[in-house]
C-alpha cells in the first residue's frame, strides 16, 4: 500500500515533519523520502558559491526542507487547478502555471521553455511507442504517466495562457 496515491497517514507524516515510517508497518512517508538527497542538494548549492566557501550541515538540511516545501507548495496550486478544470493529471503546463501564479515569475518563463524543449525531444518517443493514447492537445506528445494505470478516460482539455 506504500504506493497509493496519498492516504491520510502520508499527509499526516508530512505535516508533522516527523518520520512516521520507522517501525510503523508503514503507510507513512519516511523522513528521508520526503526530502531530496542531501548530497544532491549540497552539490547544487556549491555551484552558487565561491570555491573556498563552506556549507554547514544544518544549512544543507534546511535547504532540503525548503525544496520539499517548494515542491509541495507548487504542486498544491497546480493540483487545485487540475481539479477546477476537472482533469486528473498534473502535467508540466500546470507546474509552469503554478510557478507564475505563486510569484515565481522568473521561473515560469524559463520553465515553459524547458518544458517545450523537453516535449520536442521526448514527444516523438512517447507518441510512437503507443502508450500515449490520451489526446495530446498541445500538438506534441506530453509523455506517458508514471503511474501504472493510465487514465484513458480522461480527455485532458488544453488551455492556453
Amino acid at each position: 500500500m506504500a504506493d497509493s496515491s496519498g492516504n491520510s497517514e502520508e499527509a499526516e507524516g508530512r505535516a508533522l515533519g516527523t518520520s512516521t515510517g520507522a517501525g510503523s508497518g508503514d503507510g507513512g512517508i519516511k523522513e528521508q523520502d520526503r526530502l531530496l538527497p542531501i548530497a544532491n542538494v549540497g552539490r547544487i548549492m556549491k555551484q552558487m558559491l565561491p570555491p573556498n566557501a563552506k556549507i554547514s550541515k544544518e544549512a544543507k538540511e534546511t535547504m532540503q526542507e525548503c525544496v520539499s516545501e517548494f515542491i509541495s507548495f507548487v504542486t498544491a496550486e497546480a493540483s487545485d487547478r487540475c481539479h477546477k478544470e476537472k482533469r486528473k493529471t498534473v502535467n508540466g503546463d500546470d507546474i509552469c502555471w503554478a510557478l507564475g501564479t505563486l510569484g515565481f515569475d522568473d521561473y515560469a518563463e524559463p520553465m515553459r521553455r524547458y518544458l517545450h524543449k523537453y516535449r520536442e525531444v521526448e514527444g516523438d518517443r512517447s507518441a510512437s511507442n503507443g502508450l500515449n493514447t490520451r489526446s495530446s492537445n498541445f500538438g506534441t506528445g506530453d509523455g506517458q504517466t508514471l503511474f501504472d494505470d493510465m487514465d484513458r478516460n480522461d480527455p485532458s482539455t488544453s488551455r492556453r495562457y
Binding site: S5, G6, N7, E10, A11, I29, R34, L36, P37, N40, V41, I44, M45, K46, Q47, M48, P50, P51, N52, A53, I55, S56, E58, A59, T62, M63, E65, C66, V67, E69, F70, I71, S72, V74, T75, A76, A78, D80, H83, K88, T89, V90, N91, G92, I95, Y107, P110, M111, R113, K117, Y118, R119, E122, D142, G143, T145, L146, F147, D151, D154
Partner: protein, 169 residues
C-alpha cells in the same frame, strides 16, 4: 551549471571610488545596505539570464541533478494529487535546481555581510525573510530570522563597526 559560481564582487567595504555623502553611522549603514542590495539585484539579473541561456542549450533530459522518483514521492504526499504526467517531475527537477541556486545566492549575500565563508542556517533564514516570494518558507526557520538582520539596517552595527570603512584590498 558545471562550474563554480562566479566569484561575487566584494560586498564588504566601501566600493572604491564611490563617494559616500556624509551623515552619521546610521546613514552609512543605510547607504551601504542599499549599495549591497543594488549589487545583489544586478547579480540576480545575471543569474536569471544565465539560467535562461542554459535552458536554451539543454539537450539532455535524461540526466537530472535531482532524483525524479523522489520528487514524485513528494508530490504524491498531497492527497489531492492523483495522476502525475512524466514531464511534471522533470520540470520540477529543473525548477528545484533554480530554486536552490537562487536561495543559496541570496543566503550567501547574508554570510558575506557577516564576513563568514561558511553558509549557515541563519543566512537562509535571512534570505527567506528578505524575499517576498519565499514567505511560504517562513515556518521552516521560525525563530532564526529575528536574531539576525531585521534590526540591523536600522542601526545595530555588525560585528565590526569599522569594517565597512575598510577598502577591500
Amino acid at each position: 551549471m558545471d562550474q563554480p559560481g562566479h566569484a561575487t564582487p566584494p560586498l564588504m567595504g566601501v566600493a572604491a571610488g564611490v563617494p559616500y555623502a556624509g551623515g552619521g553611522p546610521y546613514q552609512a549603514y543605510q547607504h551601504l545596505f542599499h549599495q549591497q542590495q543594488q549589487q545583489q539585484q544586478q547579480q540576480l539579473q545575471l543569474f536569471w539570464a544565465d539560467q535562461y541561456r542554459e535552458i536554451e542549450q539543454t539537450t539532455d533530459f535524461k540526466n537530472h541533478s535531482l532524483p525524479l522518483a523522489r520528487i514524485k514521492k513528494i508530490m504524491k504526499a498531497d492527497e489531492d494529487v492523483r495522476m502525475i504526467a512524466a514531464e511534471a517531475p522533470v520540470v520540477f527537477a529543473r525548477a528545484c535546481e533554480m530554486f536552490i541556486l537562487e536561495l543559496t545566492h541570496r543566503s550567501w549575500a547574508h554570510a558575506e555581510e557577516n564576513k563568514r565563508r561558511t553558509l549557515q542556517k541563519n543566512d537562509i533564514a535571512a534570505a527567506i525573510s528578505r524575499t517576498d516570494v519565499f514567505d511560504f518558507l517562513i515556518d521552516i526557520v521560525p525563530r532564526e530570522e529575528e536574531k539576525e538582520d531585521v534590526a540591523r539596517p536600522l542601526g545595530a552595527p555588525p560585528t565590526d563597526p569599522m569594517s565597512y570603512y575598510y577598502v577591500q584590498q
